[in-house]
Amino acid sequence: MQTQTFPNSVSRDDTQTAAPRKAVFRVGFRNHMARNFDGQMNLFRIMLMYRETLGVMVLQIDEQAAIRFGFGLSPNQPNPQDLSSVLAQLNGVDTFAIKFPLYSTDQGLNALSDFAAARKVEKTGAADGAAMVKSQKKIVRQLSQQTYRNLFARAVDSTDGFRERLSWFWTDHFSVSARGRKLGVLMPTMIDSAIRPNLSGKFSDMLMAVNLHPAMLEYLDQSSSIGPNSDFAQKRKNKGLNENLAREMLELHTMGVGGGYSQTDVRELAELLTGLRVNAKGVRYNPVFAEPGTEYILGKSYGGEEEELRHIKQFLRDISVNPITAKHLARKLAVHFISDMPSEDLIEHMADKYLASDGNLHEIYSAMLSHTSAWETPRAKVKQPFDFVVSVHRALGGSGQGILALKRGRFNSQTHVPMRLMGQNFLQPDGPDGWPEDGEHWITPAGLAGRVQFAMQMAETMDGDVDPRAFVTQAVGRDASKDIHLAAARAESKIEGLALILASPDFNRR
């Protein structure tokens, strides 16, 4: 093998630049911990441990915060310097939703109504019918294109990375596949109307907003669920319950599969949910379809004489603070952000904080971030294709405006099209259980080939302007492995050097 030694200058530079930042960070971090978290002793201990066992390598909390809890490093943005700033941002204005707006739920519903109206005209055989349908199709297509652009732009641009990641986490938790025209139009509106406004408040608010959103009701067939003894069912035969929404509410949204609920609970909940319907104007509660009487779910009674929406809301409030729900949410968050096999201690801690705050999401996040294991085993998770694609754009200095400015074909080929090759259809998970979390699902020969290809493709766009040796730290972080530095230094062209870094296991993990 060649006798060229691993570039010592790189590691020397690293320690030189890392040292002052580390010092500043330590002070800020420790003060912060002392003020806000009861996990400070643990964290302090682990910081010492890292320093002692790894010598020059320090715990890069700023970079970890950006990589593990955000969409990765960007040369255009400072990394979050401590936990409090990460959490404080969540309580602030949703800057990037304003900067890169989506259309509203009402606008989506209107577009669908207009489309249906045009179809009606077309069916009458009127001369301009076909043209009307065509123009409505175009409108729908434009809505969808704008949505794709703005969603990518937010993620690439955001300095509020944890909020962006959380918004995708909950969008996946409440998976609705944007397949077909109706859901294609409605699903994205759920993000800004139901999920993002409720990211850090009470979980029950989000749970309600999502389950009272037309996309969710449409996706889980709620409109076809009719109380067997409802007024409506009295007049028509062959109408009955559809348990779909009730089951997913328990199995996916709250308690989790194996959460201890019974088939009777599912059925009773399905009865409680009857009357909840979606029409052209949105979600409505119509007692004509509601099953009369009291429902008993998980040992508690709901409803009675009058069938009203407030009974459903009461159930959602109750189940949101069920201890099993608390654990289910804690585990999902930990698995998504930290490790495919998170520690039970972490989950207990998160669930406790959540329950103690009456189901406040901000508390469950802060419990997660302040727990030692949030900062242990760096890069235990594989980035999902969306995260990977976004983080490549960020690493290469991309911006939201840059994403908006791409020509259509180029936008497609640099965002959602390569995601399909990596195994993820943007906004279209296979089922209501969302995307798989385990790395084995994503790093398959075909999935990895898609990533390597994308890495090459994006490296090419840099026209050889970036020196791979400097790019290692910029993209992967100060703890990048020796293998990556070696690959970057030995690649035979700059383009390949960048591609190798972007295709490296470290960059593909978080």
Binding site: N412, M456, R469, L500
Partner: protein, 411 residues
């Protein structure tokens, strides 16, 4: 240019005050604008071509000792001392007709560090040192030469291929063109990728097949058509026709360059990668050799009568170690070789002073000792082809270069 190429065409308007509206594709071409009739093609061989393998000094008795295995593969005798690698056998007729030549034991002024990027940077920038390169900013020697010439149009010089060559970047206008997405990862890139994946069991498990698949993804080209191609990928993998794909790609670049040179362009530059042969060199070097051979033969064929007025210079960032390594390959070295072709070349000759391969003659006891600055070959070519004054060549194009003697390799 046919519609297909026209569609894929992209103009680089980085040049001073040159807007797309002024490009020769949008406005009619003025034929009076070409400054000269001679043509120059520069091919950058990325990854450090092993000059000792491509042009083998069989006449030096140390050669076979340093390279017991590599010296044994097929070669074609050139002049009794040197032999040409068998992978270039298609170029033999050019040698016989005096249209192919080599310069041996050449190098840029780059020494000791042996980094591809720095080496290529210096080769294309044409400066005497990396410090000077940093100080002077981003411009390549071909571009600086163009700044000395009146009547240079965007169309005069072309960067062909995916990477916008540093060689042509700078104040003078130039055009660039890239065919559809077809960049393939080199053997060295694949090796480095595999090495990174080895330490991560999850990635390692998928790496081997993934890298093969990647090649096919790259070769397929446009992303939108990619999904349809996924199904037939298994068959493609078996065919293992990457070498053919690569050669086709090089041929496409050369064909485009020839098309432009037959019109108003006088300079074209592109690159061929894949020369970083750290292991299994006798197999791995075949691919870039066949690309190079295809590119030159395509240029000759497509340039027709203009081939007589053309010089093709193929340069690499540095050579490789004199001794073969433990993995049947060679590592980064210093002195190397360059290849010249074209009707304007005085061919059938290996130029340069041979330094010898005895241990005491080697650079750092490992590399071929350079006996000439590769930049002087570029300078002399431009002097004779384009009439650039020696003073300008030594001051502006290759600052600090001292053109000592003229080997008269241009007719």
């Amino acid at each position: 240019m046919n519609d297909q190429t026209r569609r894929k065409f992209l103009l680089n308007t980085a040049a001073l005050g040159c807007s797309a509206a002024a490009s020769p594709l949008v406005t009619p071409v003025t034929f009076a604008s070409t400054p000269w009739d001679n043509r120059l093609v520069v091919i950058v061989l990325r990854g450090a071509m092993d000059g000792l393998d491509v042009v083998r000094p069989y006449g030096d008795k140390m050669f076979a000792q340093h390279r017991p295995d590599l010296a044994k593969t097929d070669a074609i005798d050139l002049d009794g001392f040197y032999g040409m690698h068998g992978g270039l056998s298609d170029l033999s007729p050019l040698w016989d007709q005096g249209q192919l030549a080599f310069a041996h034991s050449v190098s840029t002024p780059y020494r000791n560090k042996r980094s591809h990027f720095d080496g290529q940077d210096l080769l294309e920038a044409g400066y005497a040192s990396l410090d000077e390169r940093r100080r002077m900013g981003t411009s390549g020697w071909l571009n600086r030469m163009l700044t000395l010439v009146p009547n240079v149009e965007t169309e005069t010089a072309y960067a062909v291929g995916q990477d916008d060559l540093l060689l042509l970047q700078g104040d003078a206008p130039h055009a660039s063109w890239a065919p559809g997405r077809s960049l393939l990862m080199s053997a060295q890139g694949q090796l480095l990728l595999n090495r990174m994946y080895e330490s991560d069991p999850l990635f390692h498990a998928s790496a081997e097949v993934a890298i093969e698949l990647t090649e096919d993804l790259m070769a397929i080209g446009d992303m939108d058509g990619m999904m349809d191609e996924m199904d037939s990928m298994q068959d493609q993998m078996k065919a293992n026709n990457q070498a053919i794909k690569l050669a086709k790609r090089a041929g496409a670049l050369a064909e485009f360059a020839a098309d432009r040179l037959n019109e108003d362009s006088r300079i074209a530059a592109f690159s061929i990668g894949g020369w970083d042969t750290h292991r299994n060199q006798k197999v791995i070097i075949q691919k870039p050799l066949s690309q190079l051979s295809t590119a030159i033969l395509t240029l000759r064929e497509k340039l027709g009568a203009n081939w007589d007025k053309t010089a093709v210079l193929c340069m690499t960032e540095f050579g490789r170690t004199v001794r073969q390594n433990g993995t049947q390959g060679t590592d980064h070295g210093t002195g190397g070789a360059m290849l010249m072709a074209g009707g304007a070349i005085r061919g059938g000759k290996v130029y340069g002073k041979w330094p010898g391969l005895a241990d005491e003659n080697l650079f750092n006891n490992r590399d071929l000792m350079p006996t000439a600055d590769v930049r002087s070959y570029g300078a002399i070519a431009m002097r004779h082809l384009f009439g650039i004054a020696p003073n300008d060549l030594e001051r502006v194009v290759f600052p600090g270069l001292d053109i000592v003697d003229d080997p008269r390799f241009i007719l």
